[in-house]
């Protein structure tokens, strides 16, 4: 292969390939985080509801998702969604649905741990004031729980961003695919993969630095 040709590192040449993929990676991260948190909170509340018919299915769903590799879940959904709705929806949409369904299981565990970190006295206090279950959750428990779990939640989001590269398995066009395509078209695959690693590193490093700062802030408040 010989020496690396670093002149390849020219944004005006590879930008068009990468830009589209970068947008998709970020978009997928944001949508999957929001969707995963909403669905995950619902799952966590089901598991903590104390009602068997809600607990069992939620626990089964979470444990199943957590015992299968993300790549296999991507392949499953890519295979089954067209069956279920009767038409193909494309790799990108399939990836979005998969990530929401998959991340919900992980977010639900974070939310559950967050809720359980709240002293029981807080729940009793809400009940003593005559609050309904919904009011108690919304006004007393969840605001505290979300603050407690913020650092873990943000770390999970960074992992989610890294995992978006796995849409490679079903051929969706994300940032990694963008670099790969640039590398193939310009005949410089080695440099393209190296550059992809550098870009991912700086993005994730910056994000985890921000998480660390937030963690310190939250710790002072507590």
């Amino acid at each position: 292969m010989g020496n690396l040709d670093l002149t390849f590192f020219d944004w005006s040449v590879i930008g068009p390939f990468v830009w589209k993929g970068l947008i998709f990676s970020l978009w997928l991260t944001v949508v999957a985080t929001i969707g995963g948190v909403i669905l995950g909170t619902a799952l966590a509340l089901m598991r903590l509801s104390g009602k068997k018919w809600l607990e069992v299915p939620a626990a089964a769903y979470v444990n199943t998702m957590r015992s299968i590799p993300l790549v296999m879940v991507l392949l499953w959904f890519f295979l089954l969604i067209p069956f279920a709705i009767g038409r193909p929806i494309g790799a990108e949409m399939s990836a979005v649905v998969t990530f929401i369904a998959f991340e919900a299981a992980y977010f639900s565990e974070i939310v559950r741990a967050g809720i359980q970190s709240i002293p029981r006295g807080q729940i009793f206090a809400g009940q003593a004031l005559g609050m309904t279950y919904g009011q108690n959750m919304k006004l007393v428990i969840l605001p505290q729980a979300f603050r407690n779990m913020l650092p873990v939640f943000l770390t999970q989001t960074i992992i989610l961003f890294q995992d978006t590269s796995l849409v490679y398995a079903i051929g969706a066009y994300d940032m990694l695919k963008g670099f790969e395509t640039a590398g193939k078209n310009l005949g410089r695959p080695v440099e393209a993969y190296l550059l992809a690693a550098v870009v991912y590193f700086f993005m994730c490093y910056a994000l985890s630095w921000i998480v660390k700062r937030i963690q310190q802030k939250v710790q002072i408040i507590r």
């Binding site: 292969m1 690396l4 993300l70 995992d163 490679y168 080695v190 690693a197 590193f201």
Partner: protein
């Protein structure tokens, strides 16, 4: 729809159904194939786990050393480097970029490269757990080691690590399960493991549902077995009266 599980008794090249489901001589059924794929998954995962535990333990310990800022920096740099690049990108780095820079690595089998990639990736997470395990110990433990005249290595060997390693068993259990799941990413460089099998056999037989189901079940069994083994280790090594506190963590 009736599912045809006899599929697994088919010979992969001719498509004939073989009695007893195991191919003889040069023949290979899908059952043979999926079992060998399972073997590859376990080989890659367990070898990577050894690499991850070894490097993670070293780097995590280095990060807690007193009076050695450069070793602390080395451990931190290692952890940040391997933690902040997606696993798939790291596998491509080892597979395409590293051999291009060091031509001597061209002859190394790709399985070894994938094991190193998965092992180093996971070592960053292990290092993080080991570091917080050591830091979770009361400061008096370190002072106690110094007070009896131990050198720093002795303090770690006899005082800090024995307790810290017990604390990190629960998070290491989930890392060990993660490594089995993460080994699926090796399909991207054509290692003949379970995910690769699912994709190829699913296409060849036009019965992806059965193939995916079998593979999914094998992954679940593997992860569950690892979980039980770690549980046994945890109980065997438990110090009476000492219960490690569980925390929340992010991960896959």
């Amino acid at each position: 729809m009736a599912w045809d599980w006899q599929l697994f008794c088919k010979e992969t090249a001719t498509g004939e159904i073989i009695a007893g489901c195991f191919g003889k001589g040069g023949d290979q059924t899908y059952l043979n194939w999926i079992l060998s794929a399972w073997g590859w998954t376990l080989t890659v995962a367990l070898a990577a786990l050894v690499v991850a535990l070894l490097m993670g333990l070293i780097m995590g310990t280095l990060r807690t050393l007193p009076n050695s800022p450069w070793l602390v920096r080395l451990g931190t740099a290692w952890t940040e480097l391997f933690r902040n690049i997606p696993l798939l990108v790291q596998i491509f780095l080892w597979y395409f970029v590293v051999p291009a820079i060091f031509p001597a690595l061209n002859d190394v089998p790709s399985v070894i490269l994938v094991i190193l990639a998965l092992g180093f990736f996971t070592s960053a997470r292990v290092s993080e757990q080991v570091r917080s395990g050591i830091q979770a110990l009361p400061r008096g433990q370190r002072y106690a080691g110094m007070a009896v005249g131990f050198t720093t290595p002795q303090t770690y060997r006899y005082v800090l690590l024995p307790m810290a390693l017990r604390i990190v068993i629960p998070p290491l259990t989930s890392e060990s399960m993660n490594i089995i799941k993460n080994s699926s990413v090796a399909f991207a460089v054509s290692i003949a493991e379970l995910t690769m099998f699912a994709r190829q056999a699913g296409e060849e037989t036009s019965a992806p549902v059965q193939m995916y189901l079998a593979v999914t079940v094998l992954y679940a069994i593997s992860a569950f077995t690892v979980n039980r083994i770690m549980r046994v280790i945890e109980q065997k090594t438990q110090v009476p009266g000492f219960v490690a506190a569980g925390g929340m963590g992010a991960g896959h």
